[in-house]
């Protein structure tokens, strides 16, 4: 039992980042119906932004400074790539985000070079001893940042006036427009928030494993996580992130010795199994039938 705890903690630490990223992804999907295939690149750009700020700022400040830049980046993407295509067919928008992903991959390599970079500086040590298990600083930081931010955002979406507007627009944009709600501005803000979340996840990831193209693979996990949570459920995304993080850790502990390489496939296997029982995902909403 006591050898299980470190795995659980590691799983939660990873899961927090999955959750953050998926939260941003699902937020955009719910609000604008756009499947953002460039979400992994948002993470990458965010990590590089943090890396750049860390060259001349202490790391905590660098992470903070990257956030408004990320928000701006999200606004720009919405303006430049998404808004011109809104109202066109779904495939056009999807192709655009795939194209954007490729462009960002290339652009990032041009700007920062192809080799793996490490962030300068360190976050303050927050690791502590829990019984006979050590909780590493990385896990504390991930949970400390991801949980309040994720839950805070959920709360905002549920309770704040801005959140109500986002949900209204996501359900029926024309009706929102007819009430004079500035839908374009609000949706752009959602893209900004999504990029901000991805950037924080990217920065926390980079603290542990450096910045390089490897981060995009982490980004790919967002798709199984989001589907698992129910594509349209923001809370589900957060939950599914943690769930998948823990399952991966457990699989690494118990299944890997029997089935080498299984952990890689695990997210997709879990998604298939869950969707068989709950086609809307864990927390997906059911449609209201009456018109």
């Amino acid at each position: 039992m006591s050898d299980l705890l470190p795995y659980l903690i590691g799983g939660l630490a990873n899961g927090a980042l999955y959750g953050l990223l998926a939260l941003g992804f699902v937020l955009v999907y719910r609000a604008t119906s756009v499947v953002n295939f460039a979400i992994g690149e948002f993470l990458l750009v965010g990590a590089y932004l943090t890396y750049t700020f860390a060259l001349f700022l202490p790391l905590p400040l660098a992470m903070l400074a990257a956030l408004p830049m990320a928000f701006l980046f999200g606004l720009l993407v919405e303006r430049g790539f998404v808004r011109p295509l809104l109202g066109r067919n779904v495939v056009a928008v999807i192709m655009a985000t795939i194209g954007l992903a490729a462009a960002l991959d290339g652009g990032v390599q041009l700007l920062w070079g192809p080799d793996l970079k490490y962030l300068q500086g360190e976050l303050p040590q927050l690791g502590f001893q829990l019984g006979d298990t050590f909780v590493p600083s990385r896990a504390v930081w991930n949970l400390l940042l991801a949980l309040p931010l994720g839950l805070g955002l959920l709360w905002l979406l549920r309770k704040s006036r801005y959140g109500v507007l986002v949900r209204a627009i996501s359900e029926r944009e024309v009706a929102a427009l007819a009430l004079g709600i500035p839908t374009a501005r609000i949706l752009a803000g959602v893209w900004g928030i999504s990029a901000l979340l991805a950037t924080l996840a990217g920065a926390l990831l980079a603290v542990a494993s450096g910045v390089g193209h490897n981060l995009v693979f982490f980004g790919l996990k967002v798709f199984p996580v989001a589907i698992l949570g129910g594509l349209d459920s923001v809370g589900g995304a957060l939950l599914a992130g943690f769930l998948l993080g823990v399952l991966e850790a457990l699989s690494g502990r118990y299944l890997e010795p029997i089935l080498p390489g299984f952990t890689e496939a695990l997210p997709f296997v879990v998604v298939l199994l869950v969707l068989m029982v709950r086609p809307y995902g864990l927390l997906g909403e059911r449609q209201i039938e009456r018109v």
Binding site: V164, E173, A175, L177, L179, G180, I288, R290
Partner: protein, 259 residues
């Protein structure tokens, strides 16, 4: 002039001509009905004055919309509602996954927290049934309750002109009457101007001053509501009375029953 439409031509997807030179006016404090059969172009006119045509792949080909004397033909909906025109589109355009409270919050997006709170209290005082169900998803409200909620939402946008597209659709006769009475009361109380789009001529004529009848994208009758009600021809020909001889009017009447 609060709202004036001049020689308006509207097309969808560049080819489907929905309005073919429509002119109409709504004056200060006046209630005007826009009647006509299915496909006449009523909703197209609503979308045009609300600046929503692009959302329906439509556009103004020719003509003008003026709001409070100001050119408003190609303004976006945010500006138009800002000027004081709110349109309630056809098909109960509320947010079904949101509660009545949240629907009202969305509608009152321009208000300060205090104004919003007061506005909401006013709406709930007027519609006690909404208050009882204020935390349920609006999609599960009855048709009548949804229509009341829509009127409440429209109020919270603080309009000077209200354009309402077929509020009676799908409601039982008693509820239709209630909706019309409420519209009438609200208008008088708030000093609003009203453009009421309807297929239910009888219900609409009871609360308006003037009437336009639209057919195939053109205004085919325009006049006093009183006169229209008394004018046998108008009632029979355009609005379908019991003893109708004309094939066309008969067809219209039958279609009306289906709704």
């Amino acid at each position: 002039m609060i709202l004036s439409v001049e020689n308006l031509k509207v097309v969808y997807r560049g080819v489907i001509l929905a309005l073919d030179g429509v002119s109409l006016e709504v004056r200060e404090g006046e209630a005007v009905a826009l009647l006509g059969p299915n496909g006449a172009g009523k909703s197209s006119l609503v979308r045009a004055v609300a600046g929503l045509l692009p959302k329906f792949e439509g556009r103004v080909l020719d003509g003008h919309v003026r709001l409070f004397g100001q050119e408003a033909t190609h303004l976006d909906p945010v500006r138009i509602t800002g000027l004081g025109l709110t349109a309630v589109l056809e098909g109960r355009p509320l947010f079904r996954y949101l509660t009545p409270v949240e629907n009202l919050v969305a509608a009152g997006h321009r208000l300060s927290s205090r104004e919003l709170k007061e506005g909401m209290e006013e709406v709930f005082a007027r519609f006690p049934r909404l208050y009882e169900r204020r935390h349920e998803q609006a999609g599960y409200l009855s048709g009548g309750e949804q229509q009341m909620l829509l009127l409440g939402m429209a109020l919270l946008t603080r309009p000077k002109v209200l354009v309402v597209d077929e509020p009676s659709l799908g409601l039982a006769p008693k509820l239709v009457e209630e909706v019309m009475r409420t519209l009438d009361a609200l208008r008088k109380e708030k000093g609003l101007s009203l453009l009421l789009v309807e297929q239910n001529a009888r219900a609409a004529l009871a609360i308006v001053d003037r009437v336009y009848v639209l057919e195939r994208g053109r205004v085919v009758f325009e006049g006093d509501a009183q006169a229209a009600q008394e004018d046998q021809d108008v009632m029979e020909f355009y609005l379908g009375k019991e003893e109708v001889g004309f094939r066309q009017a008969k067809r219209y009447r039958r279609r009306k029953r289906w709704v």
